[in-house]
Subunit: 635 residues, 2 copies
Amino acid sequence: MHRSIATVSLSGTLPEKLEAIAAAGFDGVEIFENDLLYYAGSPRDVRKMCADLGIAITLFQPFRDFEGCRRDRLQRNLDRAERKFDLMQELGTDLVLVCSNVAADSLGDEEILVDDLRLLGERAGARGLRIGYEALAWGRHVNTYQQVWNLVRQADHAAVGVILDSFHTLSLKGDPAAIAEIPGDKIFFVQMADAPILAMDVLEWSRHFRCFPGQGEFDLPGFLAPIIRTGYTGPLSLEIFNDGFRAAPPRANAVDGLRSLLYLEEKTRQLLATDAKAPNLDLLFDTPPASRYHGVEFLEFAVDEAAGAKLSGWLQRLGFAKAGEHRSKDVSLLRQGDINIVLNAEPYSFAHGFFEAHGPSLCATALKVKDGTTALQRALDYRGHPYRGLVGPNEREIPAMRAPDGSLIYLVDQAEAGQTIYDSDFKLDPAAAPAGSLQRIDHMALALPADSLDSWVLFYKSLLDFEADDEVVLPDPYGLVKSRALRSRCSSVRLPLNISENRNTAIAHALSSYRGSGVHHIAFSCEDIFKEVERAKEAGVPLLDIPLNYYDDLAARFDFDDEFLSELAYYNVLYDRDAQGGELFHVYTEAFEERFFFEIIQRKNGYVGYGAANVAVRLAAMAKARSGVTRQAKL
Amino acid sequence: MHRSIATVSLSGTLPEKLEAIAAAGFDGVEIFENDLLYYAGSPRDVRKMCADLGIAITLFQPFRDFEGCRRDRLQRNLDRAERKFDLMQELGTDLVLVCSNVAADSLGDEEILVDDLRLLGERAGARGLRIGYEALAWGRHVNTYQQVWNLVRQADHAAVGVILDSFHTLSLKGDPAAIAEIPGDKIFFVQMADAPILAMDVLEWSRHFRCFPGQGEFDLPGFLAPIIRTGYTGPLSLEIFNDGFRAAPPRANAVDGLRSLLYLEEKTRQLLATDAKAPNLDLLFDTPPASRYHGVEFLEFAVDEAAGAKLSGWLQRLGFAKAGEHRSKDVSLLRQGDINIVLNAEPYSFAHGFFEAHGPSLCATALKVKDGTTALQRALDYRGHPYRGLVGPNEREIPAMRAPDGSLIYLVDQAEAGQTIYDSDFKLDPAAAPAGSLQRIDHMALALPADSLDSWVLFYKSLLDFEADDEVVLPDPYGLVKSRALRSRCSSVRLPLNISENRNTAIAHALSSYRGSGVHHIAFSCEDIFKEVERAKEAGVPLLDIPLNYYDDLAARFDFDDEFLSELAYYNVLYDRDAQGGELFHVYTEAFEERFFFEIIQRKNGYVGYGAANVAVRLAAMAKARSGVTRQAKL
């Protein structure tokens, strides 16, 4: 499809916006009138700039409060239109968006509305221009696409057509099915916007909370599918009013915008795949389906010698065995259950650069996939950045790409025993035996800068076809924290993403110590929490102290006997129970170098969450640990 | 009144909160259960801490989902209550807040609700404790205070009373009048919270957007007045769920909280003053009424020699005359019309300290008042900070206080001609004659750090009895800017306050160059904008270039002839017209040292705004000026 974006979706001056739009690979741009107004060059200058950048001006917008205006204002409104038509001709675009009248004194008489649209269409048509009529969700008399099509149909003029905007329909819970009844050539333009579902005034919602397709909660493939069915082949354009986008760097945000359209096209193509009559499916973006994931193959930490020794010590106290050393590099492997952790202290490596920039930190995550080469191809189709490192003799080359924070995501094919990357790349110690019984990486929580959450969600949804859970808001003693969990479709890989909009929360501290985003904690699953924690405690793992008042409250909320409660409190084990009876037991370590920490977790009866009910007490305990105060010994 | 605040209103750990509450001068505190839960000490430790700090624990809260619970859960709920009663006795408080049940499966049968409340009251009463029942606005069956009182009346138990919360009533547009019918001794507790009027889900609104009385839009004196009429003399307590407060420094925020209660008491006292039967008025905060203001007496800029010479040059090009030098200090006076501007380069002065910290900047604003001594007393009653500087021989001492950014606000009595502070403190040049005809200071816009807006609004509303206009949101090319204008009641002093939540807006740039908040621009009024601007342009005042596209749009919107439009464009004059036909003409200078700028403004036909419609084009032009691009000469 022809892909377009409205200038209002990005921050910056008009030239900055246009350059970002072209660089991201869009075919066209909607010029939002205010962006032109505030620009010091002429409309012809803008036309030339777009031509030089290779992007078409797909639309000029908006033209407001025209149809059904008070009759004594009609002539004045037509004069206004003619001035804007002059401007469009200078710009070199033939289509203007006319949005439905919001004036309290505007007229709703159908005949008047039809006549006005036809009149404006005649004026436009006489100059080789076209008008597209769009229903604003808060229009005074016209606020659905059904009304718009009814009026456009009656106006019956070649220069008058329909403009569809997903937000205006889906925000009012409108059914897009009837779009399929509009002839494709009478749909002049299509605007796509997603949004989180918010119970608020629709105008405020629209002006501040729209987001790119895939970042919100609307069913956008369900909106686009009937449009494709009409035979429409015009632009798909993003018109996103978003407070965060208004301040975000325009180049990176434009790349997200293009990616969101590709994602929407892929999902729509899938939706229409079974419909033999659906036209033009080959115009929609196509890429190999995502891999099935079989969990995390390994995690790689960037360390130097000192940090490597310290982290290795922590992991061994957590029950890991030193399982081997890399054949040619300063890289060691620790293992327990299905968990593989690689500590990379190799100079002149990617990990070394990462260590220099961020200190001891997670520099790579390896996912177990069915076919790494195809999985990488999908990522590249989605404008991902591939990574190829130096490969030594006897080492395997693993397909890899960059995550948004610059760390690596490896895509590792599943291999037979004895043929794994560990067998090829490492000198393994056959005698290594872990002291603990941790089983798998349950989840990895990331700390991200505020406002980058949407970008990460889109990255994982599109390149890796992950799903995103709903956002939850959690209290830290020094501000609120937002969390949204990403999951592979089988839930074998889970990534809660956390942001803080305030400066003094635990998340914000982690970010500042990382100088960038980074893994915030890693949760290991087990089958017997008390056994694991007892072992860890004896081995000297520093567990995060939980206030006893927390256990008094558990006693009030649940029917536990005192002995069991004492055991929970003694081992600092947190507890949660969901509405279906699923149970969670989990315990946290203190922070490693104030950067990240570990969690030991036991899920029972199908508990699927992350213990959100216990995050506040954990954050308070961490704030306390940061301030250096220790728990009063009471047990 | 006994003044209290809930721990949830402030950020930090429980000890940090309690210390801030005591330091601000509150008498008591509501312990929000989660704050206790996350605290590592015992309830007895909290009791001791409060006793040591001299604050009473006025309430323990909340106890949820009790009355009308499913019958098979009643016993378990009573057990839960007994555990919390244990806790309250350890804490040393006798009152618990029971909020109305929100559970979907809870029962609404009146008889059951009454029985449950009586049962809980009997349990509490047997231990010398009391329960206060409060309607949550989103309660399943009970969501008004009228329902609460009806049930409490029927429960008819000494240990069962009513808790009122302004938010839960006013958010549902409830009428507080019927509160006056509740016996004062059956009202056990009163919570006060303000909020901006938002069209959104009431639970989200309550959890994130409450604010201190006077910072929002609720009629809180109208809510408190009927409570006072009942004879209630218990605590007035603040229970504020606010995302910003959760991250704000707790000490400064607690001071705002106390100030907001004093303000509410003053306004309620005024409301009840005409009611001869209203009891206990002497319990409400009292302070002298605010002065009438007669405009700005003078503005004082902190400069050094170089900045002073440069700023003096700018002002002279703007038509000011050098009117005199201070008798004993390195301070000069520039005058035009009713405008007095003082440039202070005196070493070892307050201004010098301000200059060292903030560079060339506004360090004091002098307001013309009727009685400066009384005005200062009012500010001190409101916990304002007085300022006394060094006074030389033949100099007048002017009552002064600190603004929230540390600058000074002088309160200058009006004086006869020849007896003014200029006559006493300055050697005036009788021959000085301004070249321009600027008349008055129309307004001064301030740039503030994000999240400090509410604090400033409360400062001006309480200490100086200013009024606040509604907040407006304005687009800068690099993010949104929020603005809220403060006015003295006669509008002779106007202060639009601006904040930016993003880092790259013009407001954010001004803040970073100030290292603190500061005046962002100063608008001078005139009677003939074209005459003033022509003079200023000839004198070499650098005017901010406005894009010609702006004037093309004016042409489309208004019925101007081309000659007039050309004149507007030639002089970079912006135009706005309000719904009542009021007109605004205004022009901006470029920024002085990237810090502040000046505006020349002409209001016609009673225009009362600040040209919000033109802020976006101004901000875009300023962003462009910052990036060093100059306008293409087209005229």
